[in-house]
């Protein structure tokens, strides 16, 4: 889930504005972000189509759970960075806001949590706004696909086997199709033939029905 800095700013802004509990109007956003209402409308529609916002005509927008997640994540970074700039480096509150705006997008989750630990896990920012709690590490939902969907020459890492038949599972893990191992699809043998798969130094040909049971991450 990669999301642009611009979109992060929008979601963070809507997050701030929606604390009143009512839908946020386009004009409020354009006022706050200093943008034309037309471009705000365009962006909110896009974010709505991507599932981050609910858009209600004549009323405004609200964050979806996915949108809230992105916003809270960015707010947490922003406010922790502000704390760091003020408490540790001694910057003024105004300066810290500007700088945090720029840094917040390019800080890894790991670093954010380390920063929080160093600062003794503060709960409010220099302005007194609350710092959202850390999210459970973002569920690594790299979509998995059956190995049969890998193109020739593509590689992947086995994530799991979809199968309820213990005999088949044993056969597959016995031959080395074990989660965590790297696989390379070398051939899709034509005419409905098997897949030729490389597992390290070993090559195995497996029928397509077996191949549809093995899920991989690209």
């Amino acid at each position: 889930m990669k999301i642009s800095e611009n979109a992060e700013d929008y979601l963070a802004c809507i997050y701030d504005l929606s604390r009143k509990g009512v839908p946020v109007k386009t004009s409020e956003i354009s006022g706050r972000l200093n943008l034309s209402p037309a471009s705000v409308t365009e962006m909110t529609q896009r974010l709505a189509s991507e599932g981050y916002l609910n858009y209600e005509r004549y009323k405004g927008v609200t964050l979806t759970p996915a949108g809230t997640m992105v916003a809270e994540r960015i707010k947490r970074r922003h406010r922790l960075l502000e704390r760091f700039l003020v408490d540790v480096l001694g910057r003024t509150t105004e300066d810290s806001h500007e700088e945090a705006m720029r840094l917040e997008h390019n800080f890894s989750d790991e670093s954010v949590e380390m920063l929080s630990r160093i600062l003794n896990n503060p709960t409010v920012c220099p302005d007194g706004d609350p710092i959202p709690a850390p999210q459970a590490p973002m569920e690594d939902e790299a979509p998995t696909i059956p190995i049969i969907e890998l193109e020739e020459g593509e590689e992947g890492v086995i994530s799991h086997l979809i199968c309820d038949d213990p005999a088949k599972i044993r056969r597959l893990i016995g031959m080395g199709f074990v989660p965590g191992r790297k696989v390379v699809v070398e051939e899709h043998v034509p005419m409905g033939g098997p897949l030729l798969i490389r597992l390290d130094e070993m090559r195995v040909a497996i029928g397509r029905d077996y191949a549809s049971l093995i899920q991989v991450e690209k």
Binding site: A167, I173, G174, G193, L196, A205
Partner: protein
Amino acid sequence: MRLVLVGNPNVGKSVLFTRITGIGVISSNYPGTTVEFEEGVVMYGGKRISVFDLPGTYSLAGSTEDERVATGLLFEKRPDCIIAVVDATRLEQNLVLVLQLIELGYKVIVALNFMDQARKRFSLDVDRLSNILGVPIVPTVATTGEGVDQLMQNVISGDVQRSAYVTRYDSHIEAFLEDMSEGQVATEKGFPIRGALIKLLEGNQLFVEQFPPAVQLAADGYREEFREEHGEDVEVHISRDRYGEAGRIASQVINKLERKLTLRDRISEATLRPSTGIPILLTVLVGIFLAVVLVGGALEELLLDGYALLVGDLFDRLAALIGGTAGQIIANGIDLSIQAILAIVVPYILVFYLILGVLEDSGYLPRVVMLLDGIMVRLGLHGRTIIPMIVGTGCNVPAILATRTLESRRQRIILATIVVMVVPCSAQTVIIVGTVGQYSGIMWAALIYIILFALILLLGRVLHKVLKAEPPSLAIEIPELSRPSVRNVIVKTWMRVKDFFVIAFPLLLAGSLFLEG
């Protein structure tokens, strides 16, 4: 003492077995051929050693017919010592099985086979590997016999001990092992409790039965719990941990060298890629057909001429000696039987088995299976069935023998039926082409072939439907091509032709006597 050879398929285990025991075994590269396990007795250093060769197996889970035979035998034979045959070029994959053997408390010696190939690809620190695993390790090259003596020295030395090496698993699994072992060290059958509990978790029936019902129940509960917490089966996780362990060990002892593609590697690749592999395959198939018919035919003439010269009027004299009609019958019967053997058995079958032996030992057959599986499955058959069908165009008898190479009984039945009833053997071909083609026109001969082909499809379909049970999907290892050992091919061909003599000659003799009478 009892010695057992265990290893993955395609590690040269059977060739090593032939090296240890001398002749008395059929070895092959084709998955399935060693389902009938081999046994031999050898005197070494004044000790009598029974040697068992288990079918190649990837794990001790017992999920395929081969694996069930292997695990069952390992369990029954209670070997004094195990030689784990390992393909040094695929150390990581092979170590997984070794770790399981150690875990079950067997006294293991590792034969690091294909060492000649491995040396070209990387440097392997054998001593270090031996130290890590705590077992003796002997580099071997089974095809040349390198290292076999040293291996046997180790076997009879009696110095081989149980290794103390422990494979560590996920902390939850470790907690289970600790809880359930309750200070017990070994099961009643003498397996280390840790190894037996792991097999219990994996659901290996042979071990499940060694535990009291309460423990079995606890294991079932634990499996459920594990699946809920981890989102994967505990046996998958155990395998994952084992591969992790094997990978770590392999990376400690192997130093990869820059790999140069040799000519053999290139050929190996060409036979594998459909674009080049399918034309090569067709050439090979036509080549087998022609070789059996032409070379076999030439041999037949040569042998029969030689026989006529050699025998002269021997049988006439034999008939006179016995006297009367009975004398005629017996003499003629023996004469005709020998002629039949010389006309059918020796030439065609010998040629065919020599070719088959080379194809098996070179690792080519799995490629045939892979390339043709798609087509065969559409015909309601299986990739593996192509081989006996090709054999059948030579002679049906070895074709039926070749159905032995199939994994399941069901496929053997389907295929044997098709081969016997429909596939035209070389004698039938002679009649179809020579007689029908000659007198009625080549179109009629072609029509016969078309009908036969349609019958194969039909029969395949019908049997496929009648004999329910899911056809096992294909999952076979495709080994690198290797140079077959001449010795092994000859030994193997001899064993097979000998079988044929023993079975076919008495039948032919009885048949001839009956017909004569």
